[in-house]
């Protein structure tokens, strides 16, 4: 197993005429949670969406697990082993919780159902709402479903975009705990505005600004670096 799961090199992405990513390079080491930070509009979501093939890169390269996926379609990328939890509207409201799981399960084999059982232990609420439409879940439960659903597959990498958005502090702590359990077997790239959550889960970090990587390092150092936090994240 290579010790780098995902490599972006000079990735540029246009949305319509707008030059959103202007050459993003980053490396995701295996077996940890890497955090993408940056102010609103910095290009964090676009970076994840570009990796997923939703807003394909027009220049640069994306290598996942040794294979070039720069031009691959979203469903091919998912099948190659990347799970994606998007920023908004991640769960399908009109489907039941069960159907959301079934939709996510790439191969309906024993191993997948075993992983599904394991997911219930992490997110017991979901079992309670198994037959309910996902639309009736609370915001936090929806977020949990969006994450849990990807875990029925044996993904090598999870891309998670702002899971703490709109959650009560106690739920954020629970979620951080869950992510810490997940990262023991799956590498995570986490976009997170909640600095508390980011430092609870993340090891390495990258800071994006205006579609470029402007800084990188390890979370424990960043926590001390008030000047850097002030400059790029707007927090004291």
């Amino acid at each position: 197993m290579p010790d780098t799961v995902l490599t972006l090199e000079g990735v540029q992405t246009f949305i319509d005429q707008h030059h959103i990513l202007q050459g993003v390079s980053l490396e995701v080491p295996a077996g940890q949670a890497l955090v993408l930070l940056g102010r609103n509009g910095a290009g964090k979501s676009t970076t994840l969406r570009t990796v997923m093939g939703l807003t394909p890169a027009s220049r640069g390269s994306i290598v996942f697990d040794g294979a070039d996926i720069t031009q691959a379609r979203p469903y091919e990328i998912a099948r190659a082993g990347i799970g994606f939890v998007p920023e908004d509207q991640a769960v399908l409201y009109t489907l039941t919780v069960e159907e959301n799981f079934r939709l996510a399960m790439l191969s309906e084999d024993e191993a997948s159902f075993a992983r599904q059982e394991a997911v219930f232990e992490l997110f017991p609420d979901l079992k309670k709402f198994w037959k309910s439409k996902a639309g009736v879940l609370s915001g936090g439960q929806k977020q949990m479903l969006a994450i849990a659903r990807t875990m029925v597959n044996d993904h090598k990498l999870l891309l998670i975009d702002e899971p703490s958005k709109g959650l009560a502090p106690i739920l954020v702590d629970q979620l951080a705990e869950s992510l810490n359990q997940i990262k023991s077997h799956t590498t995570i790239v986490l976009v997170e505005q909640n600095f508390h959550m980011a430092s609870q889960v993340g090891q390495d970090y990258y800071i994006l600004d205006d579609g470029l990587v402007v800084h990188q390092g390890v979370m424990s150092d960043l926590a001390q670096d008030h000047e850097l936090k002030q400059k790029y994240l707007g927090i004291a």
């Binding site: 469903y75 998007p86 399908l92 009109t94 309906e108």
Partner: protein, 339 residues
């Protein structure tokens, strides 16, 4: 301050409820309104006719609504599949009639004729659907304007090809002998073919619901109607699935065309256009992408058309457009559409 906000919220809630219930009361009430000016027997005959028409409309409109919901594709050539299905059935019946299966044959031969028509129509619709999707539709993703222009052109071409093969004139379609005539249920005259049409339409509705709710393909389609992007990132090739859905929708429309032509006993090269207008009304009333909404709306349109056509034929289409307008006022996203 918060009191004002609260009462405003309550009021909003109330008016939403009113709209919701208003829609349902209208939807159900319309079934009984005609009793004010028709006697019970006539009413029941018209009701059967309306349900028949609704079931046949459903065959076309259901494909249209799923195609629209899943890939956001407006396919104005959908009615052309209907016409092609009708002409396919007509040709099959004409041939079978030469062997004495249609106008004179046994019950088995009548049933066989209908089955052959339906299977051929489904096949023709499927093949035409795949061709159209490959040739044109996939080049128009994301642009409604392109879709409207290109599919309108395709509809004209498809109607033109019909006149080349079959000529520009109306033709009479034979109903297989066993399905002509009617039965008498407590003084209510029910044409046999109507019963068959209701049976076929109902079976398609049940089968469609089964596929949509009980199979993985169905879950993918329903998920895709709601949010195609998410479904793709879960590992599903929505485009390939859409090709199948498009072809299935075309096949159902063609089947609807066969049934319709045998029901009305006539075909015309431009019969697809009229059907498309009804399908559009049904889709708007039912809510885009909703099969159950489409089913209810088809019945509503079929019933309203027949009730009104009986006493004021010239108003029949107008009344459906009116229903559409009222429903849109009450529920802008249609009966079962998402807001």
């Amino acid at each position: 301050m918060s009191n004002v906000a609260q009462s405003a919220a309550l009021e909003l809630n109330g008016s939403q409820n009113l709209k919701k219930w208003g829609g349902w009361i209208l939807g159900v009430g319309i079934w009984f309104l005609p009793l004010l000016w028709t006697d019970l027997t006539t009413y029941l005959v018209l009701t059967v006719a309306g349900i028949t028409m609704g079931m046949l409309l459903f065959l076309t409109a259901s494909g249209f609504t799923i195609i629209l919901g899943l890939m956001d594709v407006i396919n104005l050539a959908h009615g052309a599949f209907f016409a092609w299905g009708a002409y396919t059935g007509f040709t099959a019946l004409t041939l079978l009639n030469k062997y004495g299966w249609v106008e004179t044959g046994s019950l088995g031969q009548s049933v066989g004729s209908i089955l052959i028509c339906l299977v051929l129509a489904l096949a023709i619709g499927w093949v035409l659907g795949v061709i159209l999707e490959w040739l044109l539709i996939r080049r128009t993703y994301g642009s409604h304007l392109k879709q409207i222009l290109i599919t309108m052109g395709a509809a004209l071409v498809m109607a033109e090809i019909i006149t080349i093969f079959w000529g520009p004139n109306d033709e009479v379609v034979q109903t297989p002998a066993a399905f002509t005539g009617s039965i008498d249920v407590f003084d209510v005259i029910v044409e046999k073919f109507r019963l068959l049409a209701i049976l076929v339409g109902g079976a398609v509705f049940i089968a469609m619901n089964w596929v949509l709710h009980k199979t993985k393909l169905g879950i993918i389609v329903r998920g895709g109607v709601e949010n195609g992007e998410v479904v793709q990132t879960l590992g599903h090739n929505i485009r390939r699935i859409f090709t199948y859905v498009f072809a299935a929708g075309a096949a159902l429309a063609a089947m609807g065309g066969t049934m319709w032509s045998i029901y009305t006993q006539e075909i015309r090269p431009d019969m697809g256009e009229e059907n498309l207008i009804f399908a559009l009304i049904v889709v708007v009333i039912g809510g885009m992408g909703s099969v159950t909404g489409c089913f209810l709306a088809s019945l509503m349109v079929g019933l309203a058309f027949n009730y009104v056509a009986f006493s004021a034929p010239t108003l029949a289409l107008g009344v459906n457009i009116m229903i559409m307008a009222v429903i849109l006022l009450l529920r802008p996203s249609g009966l079962m559409g998402r807001d």
